[in-house]
Symmetry: C2
DNA sequence: ACTTTTTATCTCATAGGTGAGAATATGTTA
DNA sequence: TAACATATTCTCACCTATGAGATAAAAAGT
């Protein structure tokens, strides 16, 4: 029986989900070793690499809801890794930025995190990785561009 | 400044997550149109294509906790799409299976679901899809095989 | 100026899922 | 048989994130 385009598309969706889950699990496990959820780690990582960000920027970058951004920054503030700062010109807006503690934490754990992710995707070699990244980028961009209805 | 293997690995992790999220969002939106969460839809789909399954099999296939499997089957039972049935030989175990209603629901909505997923991954053509699927399968298998610690 | 619309964050009720442990059944071993 | 280990589902307390609405500020329109 002939395999249709739809069949191969569904296969792709399945392996995409499995691959993502497997990689995310490594990230989750490492974050958990330091008492952080994946969302919390993602906030720290974003601030670590971009400096300070508006909550709304965090929200869009991490693909969480507005309530979610508030929640994550609250939790990290309570533990002293992040602090809020009022925006100098727009009084609606607030920055989130790493505290010294937060920066030290990331100095300590980020290299290992990166190493583990590199190991997690180590099943494909350098050249394959480049091809895979290109195809996934195109796939993602296309899927994001479609209206979900239709 | 030279891009290291680690850099390309991190790029891959990022686009993998974005691609997966974008595709999953289409699935989520379609399931929601029929009042189903993604987890609920996944249960129906599994039972639709595999016939009846033990709750434990569902749990492993859907990557949810034992509590999660119970919860999902509970909700679908309450709406009459799924029913539990005792296992004939192992009295610890229970099957979940679609009711006639559940089967009719899936007859009605599955083709459209498949069509939407095919559209969502339509950014890459047939040949690319085959390559992508192969690479992702290898990536996922490798990542699943690694102990999360180390 | 005034009104309206948009933008940014926060609050809160709730959905959805986790994971430890209970309850029960089965399999294994002294 | 008794004791123990393992397997399966279910219960329950809890965690994380959502989304609608509140609040407030800024921007745009009249």
């Amino acid at each position: 029986m002939a395999r249709t385009d739809t069949d191969t598309a569904l296969d792709l969706v399945v392996v995409l989900a499995r691959a993502h889950n497997a990689v995310a699990e490594h990230a989750r496990a490492h974050a958990a070793e330091h008492g952080l959820s994946l969302g919390e780690f993602a906030v720290l990582e974003a601030l670590y690499h971009k400096g300070e960000m508006l909550l709304g920027e965090l929200q869009r970058k991490l693909l969480v809801s507005s309530g979610g951004a508030t929640y994550l920054v609250d939790r990290l503030s309570a533990r002293g890794f992040v602090e809020r700062r009022d925006h100098p010109e727009d009084r609606r807006a607030r920055h989130a930025m790493l505290t010294r503690q937060g920066r030290e934490l990331m100095d300590r754990i980020w290299p290992e995190h990166a190493r583990r992710l590199a190991r997690a995707v180590g099943g494909v070699d350098h050249a394959e990785r480049a091809a895979l990244t290109g195809l996934l980028r195109r796939l993602g961009t296309h899927a994001e561009g479609l209206e979900s209805g239709k």
